[in-house]
C-alpha cells in the first residue's frame, strides 16, 4: 500500500510539468531509520510561551541528542484531539514510534485511542491514562508550590521593594506577614498547589495564608476581586493556580503595588505586561516529560502503563524566578530556597498534598 501510494503520487505529481526529483523527498518522514515522534499539542498551539512551547523545547532537545524525526500537529479545537491522535496512530509513512499528547484535555480521547491502537506507544503530560501502552507524566505540584510558598513567606517578612525604570513600584508591607493563594476550581489537583504553598509559607516562619477559589478558570475579574481583597487585608504576595483567572491576580498586584506568583510556565515571559510584579512562577517542566519519554522510546524502554510523577530533583517542577524581579531577590532568600529544595529532595521535609494537613 505505501509503495502504491508513492507510485501514484509520483505519477500524479508528474502531470503537467516535468517535476523535479526533489518532489518525492519533500514528503515527510524521510527515513525509517531514527525514531519517529509525533506530537499533538494542547489548544493554543505553538507560540503560547507555555505548555506547547515547552513541549517543543523537549522535542528540540531530543533532536539534538538522538536521531529523531518529528512531526507536530496543532489542534484548532477540542474536537480535533481524537482526530489528530488517530491520524498519527494510523500513519504508516512514517510509522510513529511515539505519540506525545500534551495536556489533560486529551485524556478522554487518548483513553479510547489507546485501546483502539493497542500496538502504538503513547505518552500524555499532566494527566493519567491507565493503559498498557500509555506512559503518563504528572507533576508533583505540591513540591514546586512549597518552593514558591517558601519564597513568598520569606519575602513577606522582609522589607522588599522594587520599581523605577518604568516599572510598577511594588513593595512588601511589613506590618503583617500575610500571603494569599487563589485557586481556579476547587478540586484535588488544585488543592495540591494550595497545600504545598501553605506548607512552604509556614516553613518560612509565622506567616498567615489566605486561600480562596474563584470557581472558574477564565474569570479574570473574579480573580482580581479576590486578589484585591487579599492585598487590602495585608497580603504581600499572592500565588495563583487559576489559569486565565490568574491574569486578574496580576492586574490586582500592579494596582496595589504588591507581588504575585505565576503558575505552569514562566509567566513573567508568557504574561510579559505583568513581569514587574511577578516574583516567580511554579513551572511544570513539560519539556522534561517529553524529553524523558522520547529517551525511553529511543532506548526501547517505553514506560507504558506507568505513571511518572516528576518532582524537584530532575527538574520536573521548579520555582523559576521572574525575568525582571529575579535579580532583585536577596541572595539569603535564594540560598534559603536552595536549602528547602534539597531538604525536600532528600526527604527531610515532607510536603502535604491536602491543605488540611498543611
Amino acid at each position: 500500500m505505501p509503495s502504491n501510494r508513492r507510485k501514484f503520487l509520483a505519477s500524479a505529481a508528474g502531470i503537467g510539468v516535468a517535476t523535479t526529483a526533489g518532489c518525492l523527498s519533500s514528503l515527510g518522514g524521510s527515513g525509517s531509520d531514527g525514531t519517529n515522534v509525533g506530537v499533538v499539542y494542547a489548544l493554543g498551539g505553538l507560540g503560547d510561551k507555555a505548555f506547547n512551547d515547552m513541549a517543543k523545547q523537549g522535542i528540540d532537545q531530543a533532536i539534538d541528542e538522538y536521531d529523531i524525526n518529528y512531526q507536530g500537529a496543532e489542534p484548532s479545537g477540542n474536537s480535533e484531539f481524537p482526530t489528530l491522535q488517530k491520524k498519527f496512530a494510523n500513519s504508516n509513512n512514517p510509522d510513529y514510534d511515539l505519540i506525545c499528547t500534551i495536556g489533560f484535555a486529551q485524556a478522554e480521547a487518548l483513553t479510547e485511542n489507546a485501546d483502539q491502537y493497542s500496538d502504538q506507544q503513547f505518552m500524555i503530560v499532566d494527566s493519567v491514562v491507565e493503559k498498557d501502552n500509555v506512559a503518563s507524566y504528572v507533576f508533583k505540584e505540591q513540591l514546586g508550590s512549597f518552593q514558591v510558598g517558601h519564597l513568598a513567606g520569606l519575602l513577606t517578612q522582609r522589607d522588599f521593594s522594587t520599581g523605577g525604570d518604568g516599572m510598577t513600584d511594588a513593595s512588601t508591607n511589613t506590618d503583617a506577614a500575610t500571603v494569599g493563594f487563589v485557586g481556579g476550581k476547587e478540586n484535588s489537583l488544585i488543592k495540591k498547589f494550595e497545600a504545598g504553598f501553605i506548607a512552604g509559607a509556614k516553613h518560612a516562619g509565622d506567616v498567615e495564608v489566605r486561600s480562596a477559589y474563584a470557581g472558574s478558570w477564565s474569570d479574570p475579574a473574579k480573580g482580581k476581586e479576590i486578589a484585591l481583597s487579599m492585598y487590602d487585608n495585608g497580603a504581600d504576595v499572592v500565588y495563583h493556580a487559576a489559569g486565565g483567572t490568574g491574569t486578574g491576580v496580576f492586574g490586582a498586584a500592579q494596582e496595589r503595588g504588591r507581588y504575585a506568583i505565576g503558575v505552569d510556565s514562566d509567566q513573567s515571559k508568557s504574561a510579559k505586561e505583568y513581569k514587574d510584579v511577578i516574583l516567580a512562577s511554579m513551572v511544570k517542566h513539560v519539556d522534561t516529560a517529553v524529553l524523558t519519554s522520547v529517551e525511553n522510546v529511543v532506548n526501547d524502554e517505553h514506560a507504558g502503563g506507568e505513571v511518572s510523577a516528576l518532582g524537584l530533583e530532575k527538574g520536573g517542577v521548579e520555582a523559576v524566578l521572574g525575568q525582571e524581579l529575579g535579580s532583585e531577590i536577596p541572595s539569603e532568600v535564594k540560598s534559603a530556597l536552595e536549602e528547602s529544595k534539597s531538604g525536600i529532595v532528600n526527604g527531610d521535609i515532607s510536603v502535604p498534598t491536602d491543605p488540611e494537613n498543611a
Binding site: 500500500m1 501510494r5 501514484f8 503520487l9 500524479a12 505529481a13 502531470i15 503537467g16 510539468v17 517535476t19 523535479t20 526529483a21 526533489g22 518532489c23 523527498s25 519533500s26 514528503l27 515527510g28 489548544l43 512531526q71 500537529a73 496543532e74 484548532s76 479545537g77 477540542n78 474536537s79 480535533e80 481524537p82 482526530t83 489528530l84 488517530k86 491520524k87 498519527f88 494510523n90 500513519s91 489533560f104 484535555a105 485524556a107 478522554e108 483502539q116 491502537y117 478540586n187 489537583l189 472558574s216
Partner: protein
C-alpha cells in the same frame, strides 16, 4: 457543480407561477406542485435557456474551481520562493503546488481512515447546510444554526445521560436511544430557532441580528449549565460525563473501523436531504416557503400566512441544525464538551455553494469535507504552513461561490449568448 437542471427549472417554474398571481398560488395550496418537471413549455425557447443555463453552470463551477487552483498554485509557488528551507525542490521553490493540491484533493480519498475523516465532516455539514438552505429558501437568513446546533447537542447529551440508567443496552438500546436523541436534538434546535422566527414575525426584529446574538447566548448558556450543574467531576475540561455506550454512533462498516464516522449518520443526512428536497418541491408547505422566499408580498396575497410561515420555516431550519448537534454528540464527542467547531457557520457557506438547493448541499458539504481532511494531510506530510492551506481553501470557496462574476464573464464565451440574459439577470436561484 452545485446546481442541476431540475433546480434551475424549479426556480423558473416557481417564478412563472407566482407571476401568474393568486390563481396559480391558490391552486398550489391544494394540489402538489412538481417543480422538478418542467411543464408544457419545455419544448419552447425557454427550455433552451434552461439547458444552456445548466451547462453554463457546470462549466462555470468547473472553471471557477480550476481558476482557484491556478491562482492558488501561483500563490503556493511564490510563497515557496520567499521562505527558507533545506531543499528548494520545485523549480527553486520550497513548496510544490502539485503536491499541495494532490494532498488537498486526492489524498483524502486514499484509505479508510482518510475517507472516514472526509465523511465525518461532510455528514455534519449536511445538517447545518440544509438548515441554512431551508431558511434561505423562505427568504430568511439564519445565521443562528451554530447556536441551534449547540443547544440541540447539549440537550441531546443531557437527555441521554438522564435516561441512561433506564435504557437497555446493546442493539435494543441503540434502537431506542438514537431516535430519542435525534428527536430531542430536533425539538430543542427547533424551539431555539422559533424564538428569532417569532421575533421576526410578531415584533419585526431582523433575524440576522437576533440569530447572531442567540449564538452567543447558546454557547455561553451551555458553558454555564455544564460548569455549574453538569460538570464531569473527573475532568478539568468543561464537559458532561459520557453518554451511554448504546447511544454512540459507530462506523459499523469494517472499512471505517475506529473512525468518528457512522454510515447510519450518513444515511440519515442523505435521507434528510432527500426529505427536505421533497418537502420544498412537492408539498404545499414547501411551495409556500419558496414563494415567500421569492416574493413575500405575492405569497401573502396568495393566502400564505407570512407570520406563521416565518416561524415554521425557522423552526424547521433549527430542527435540522439541532439534529446535527445530536449527531455531533453521538458520533464525534460521545459527550457534550464546550468548544464545538463552527459547523453552523460553515453551513452558511455550504448552503450558498449549493445555491440553497437541498440536493446541492451534498456536493458542497463533500467539498468542505475533502478540503478539511486534505489540509490535515498537508499538515502531516508537507512542510506547508496551515495558514497558507487556509488561504487555498478560502480561494476555492470564494471562486466557486462567485458564480455571478463568472456568469458575467460567460456572456462573452460561446456558452453565454444573449438569450441567457433572462437567466443571468434574475440572479439564478440564490434567493437570499
Amino acid at each position: 457543480m452545485t446546481d442541476d437542471q431540475s433546480d434551475a427549472g424549479g426556480k423558473d417554474g416557481a417564478d412563472d407561477q407566482s407571476a401568474a398571481g393568486s390563481e396559480a398560488a391558490a391552486d398550489a395550496a391544494t394540489t402538489e406542485v412538481d417543480d422538478g418537471d418542467i411543464p408544457s413549455w419545455s419544448e419552447s425557447a425557454a427550455s433552451k435557456i434552461v439547458t444552456a443555463s445548466a451547462k453554463e453552470r457546470v462549466f462555470i463551477s468547473v472553471a471557477a474551481f480550476l481558476a482557484s487552483v491556478l491562482v492558488g498554485s501561483v500563490l503556493v509557488y511564490l510563497s515557496g520562493l520567499v521562505v527558507d528551507c533545506t531543499s528548494a525542490g520545485f523549480l527553486g521553490s520550497c513548496y510544490n503546488p502539485f503536491l499541495v493540491y494532490y494532498f488537498l484533493f486526492v489524498d483524502p480519498f486514499i484509505g479508510g481512515f482518510n475517507v472516514a475523516l472526509v465523511m465525518k465532516e461532510t455528514v455534519l455539514l449536511l445538517f447545518t447546510g440544509l438548515s441554512v438552505a431551508v431558511a434561505f429558501r423562505a427568504g430568511l437568513f439564519n445565521i443562528g444554526s451554530q447556536g441551534q446546533l449547540v443547544l440541540g447537542g447539549l440537550a441531546t447529551a443531557l437527555a441521554l445521560i438522564f435516561v441512561a440508567p433506564l435504557a437497555p443496552g446493546g442493539v435494543l438500546g441503540t434502537l431506542v436511544l438514537v431516535p430519542f436523541a435525534l428527536l430531542v436534538g430536533a425539538v430543542f434546535g427547533g424551539l431555539y430557532a422559533a424564538i428569532p422566527g417569532a421575533l421576526k414575525a410578531y415584533a419585526e426584529a431582523n433575524e440576522v441580528i437576533t440569530t447572531i446574538m442567540l449564538n452567543f447566548v447558546a454557547t455561553n448558556l451551555a458553558f454555564f449549565l455544564i460548569s455549574t450543574y453538569y460538570q464531569d467531576p473527573e475532568s478539568g475540561s468543561v464537559q458532561t460525563v459520557a453518554i451511554p455506550e448504546a447511544a454512540r454512533l459507530k462506523p459499523i462498516v469494517p472499512f471505517f473501523e475506529g473512525a468518528q464516522f457512522s454510515v447510519l449518520a450518513l444515511l440519515l443526512g442523505v435521507g434528510l436531504v432527500a426529505g427536505t428536497f421533497y418537502v420544498l418541491a412537492n408539498t404545499a408547505f414547501g411551495y409556500d416557503v419558496r414563494t415567500s422566499g421569492l416574493q413575500a408580498a405575492a405569497a401573502d396575497y396568495a393566502g400564505v400566512d407570512p407570520k406563521r410561515l416565518v416561524v415554521s420555516s425557522m423552526t424547521l431550519s433549527g430542527a435540522l441544525a439541532g439534529v446535527g448537534g445530536a449527531v455531533y454528540v453521538m458520533m464525534v464527542m460521545a459527550r457534550y464538551r464546550t468548544g464545538v467547531p463552527a459547523l453552523g457557520f460553515d453551513g452558511i457557506t455550504v448552503s450558498i455553494l449549493a445555491g440553497n438547493n437541498p440536493l446541492g448541499v451534498i456536493p458542497a458539504a463533500l467539498l468542505f469535507g475533502v478540503m478539511k481532511a486534505g489540509s490535515l494531510s498537508i499538515d502531516f506530510s508537507l512542510g506547508v504552513p496551515k495558514q497558507l492551506v487556509g488561504v487555498l481553501r478560502g480561494l476555492v470557496i470564494l471562486f466557486v461561490a462567485m458564480p455571478e462574476f463568472f456568469r458575467l464573464l460567460a456572456r462573452y464565451t460561446p456558452y453565454g449568448p444573449d438569450a441567457d440574459r433572462a437567466v443571468a439577470t434574475d440572479g439564478g436561484d440564490d434567493d437570499a
